[in-house]
C-alpha cells in the first residue's frame, strides 16, 4: 500500500490547551480523505501542521516518505492549499497572481501550466481581471488554479465550496474528481458540507476535541451508527460526549 501522507501520533499543545491529542492517519495515493468535526475539534490545527505553518509538539508527518520537519521546503514544493479564508492579492489580475505563484513554486513552462489551468477551470475571461473584483465563485476558481499551479501531489482543501452557489459548487466538485483521477493526487478535504464529503471521499475521519473519534467510509459510518446520512452521523458524534468512551 502506497501512502503519500503518513501522520503518526501527532500532537499540538498550546500553553493552556491540547489542540490535537496524538492523532494518526494515512492518505493513499489517488485518495480523497474527508476530515470532519465541529468547530474547535482540531481540524484547522491539523491542516496547519500539514502545511508547516505550525510545528507539532510531538509526533511526525511524512509526505512521500520524507519527514516534514527535516524536508520542509522540498515538501512544500509538492503540496498546496485552498481555503475561502485565505485570498490571493486582490489588486493583481488573475494572470499576474498565477505568474507570481508560478515563480514562487519555480514552475518550468509556466505559460503552458497557466494555459492548462485556464482551460480546465474556465478562466479565459478572468485572466486579465483584478482578483479583488471577482465574484466568490470566480475567486474560488482563481484560488483553485493557484493551488494547482505546482502540480501538487498532496492537496489540502479547507471548505473549498463554502459560500458558493450550487452550480459553481458542483463544478468545483466535478473538477476535483476529474483532476484527482487524471493526476493521481492525494487530497485531504475538511468540510462541513456532508453531501460533498459523501460524494468525494472514500474514507472519512471524525474529529472531536483534538482526537479522531471514528473513521471509515461514509457508508460504513452511516450503517455503524444507524443513521440515514452522514450529516446525522456528524450530529450524533458531535453532540454525544460519551459515545466512544
Amino acid at each position: 500500500m502506497t501512502y503519500l501522507v503518513e501522520v503518526t501520533n501527532l500532537k499540538k499543545n498550546y500553553s493552556s490547551k491540547e489542540a490535537v491529542k496524538g492523532i494518526s492517519f494515512n492518505i493513499k495515493e489517488n485518495e480523497i480523505l474527508g476530515l470532519l468535526g465541529p468547530n474547535g475539534s482540531g481540524k484547522t490545527t491539523t491542516i496547519g501542521m500539514l502545511l508547516g505553518l505550525l510545528k507539532p509538539s510531538a509526533g511526525e508527518i511524512k509526505i512521500n516518505k520524507m519527514s516534514f520537519e527535516n524536508n520542509r521546503i522540498e515538501i512544500l514544493e509538492k503540496i498546496n492549499f485552498i481555503s475561502p479564508y485565505i485570498e490571493l492579492p486582490k489588486k493583481l489580475t488573475v494572470k499576474q497572481n498565477l505568474t507570481v505563484y508560478g515563480k514562487l513554486y519555480n514552475i518550468k513552462k509556466l505559460k503552458d501550466r497557466i494555459e492548462y489551468l485556464t482551460e480546465k477551470l474556465r478562466l479565459h475571461d478572468l485572466l486579465n481581471r483584478i482578483t479583488g473584483e471577482l465574484s466568490s465563485g470566480q475567486k474560488n476558481r482563481a484560488s483553485l488554479a493557484k493551488a494547482l499551479i505546482n502540480k501538487p501531489s498532496v492537496l489540502l482543501l479547507d471548505e473549498p465550496t463554502a459560500s458558493l452557489d450550487p452550480e459553481i459548487g458542483d463544478f468545483v466538485r466535478t473538477f476535483l474528481e476529474e483532476y484527482k483521477h487524471e493526476n493521481k493526487i492525494s487530497i485531504l478535504l475538511a468540510s462541513h458540507n456532508m453531501n460533498e464529503v459523501s460524494r468525494l471521499c472514500k474514507s472519512v475521519l471524525m474529529m472531536k476535541n483534538g482526537e479522531i473519534i471514528d473513521k471509515g467510509t461514509p457508508l460504513s459510518l452511516i450503517n455503524k451508527h444507524g443513521r440515514a446520512n452522514l450529516e446525522e452521523v456528524f450530529l450524533k458524534l458531535s453532540r454525544n460526549e460519551n459515545e466512544f468512551n
Binding site: L51, L54, F81, P89, K91, T99
Partner: protein, 263 residues
Amino acid sequence: MNLIRIYGLFLRHFYLITRSFPRILDLIYWPTIQITLWGFISNFFATYSTYYNNAVGIILTCAILYDFLFRTSIGFNMLFLEEIWSRNFTNLFISPMRISEIITSLVGTALIRALIGLVPAIFLTSPLFGISILNLGISLFFLFLSLYIFGITLGILVSAGLLRYGPSFENIAWSTMFLIAPFGCVYYPIDILPNVFQKIAYCMPLVYVFEEARAILINQTVNIENIYKAFIINFIYLTIAISLFYYSFNQARKKGTLINIGE
C-alpha cells in the same frame, strides 16, 4: 537560494506598485514634500546661522540621507504588512520559499521603492535650492549603503516582531524611526546630546554617517574611520536582526501566530 523565487516575490510587489497610480504618487509625494520643506529651512539657516553659513545645504543633504533611511525601513515593513492586509500571508508561507529568499526579495524591493520616491526629490534640490547631494563625492555611496543596511535592519527587526506578535505589532512598525531619530544626530552634532544619550547614539551607525556627512560638507575632509565604524555596527545589528527573524519564525510556528495572522 533560488533566484526565480526571489524574483517571484519581487514581481508580486512590482505588479502591485505599477498597477496603481496612487501608490506611485504616494511613494514620490512624501519625499518630495519632506525635501522641499527642509530645503527652505536649510536656506533659512544658511542665511542666518554662523554654523551653517559656510556650507549651504548641510541640513538638506542630511534630510535626504535620513529620508532614504526612513523610506528603506518603512518600505520593508510595508511589503511585509501588505501580505497581512491582503490576507495573502498564508499563501506566502506555505510556498516553498526559504526565509533567506523572502528577506532577500524584500530587501531588493524595498530599495527600489525607496529610490522611486527619492530620486525625483533629489533631482528637485538642484534647480530649487542650488544644492547637489553629489557634493559628498564618492563617500556618498558608502553613506547611502550604510543607511540602506540600517534601514533594512530595522525593517527586518519590525517584521520579526510582526511574525512573533501578529498585526498588533503594527504600531511599532510605524514608530521605530521616530524612536531612534533623536539619537541619530541627523540635524545636529552629537555634542548637543546629554552624555547618556551620546553613549546610546554611539551604539548606532547613524551618528557616524551624519557626522561624516557634516564633516565632508563643512571641512571638506573625509574621515574613513566613521564609515568603517558605521559598517561594523551595521554588520552586528544586521546579524542580530536576521537571527531574530529566524527565531520569530520558529516561535510563530510553535505558538500558531502564522495561522492567526493568515486568516
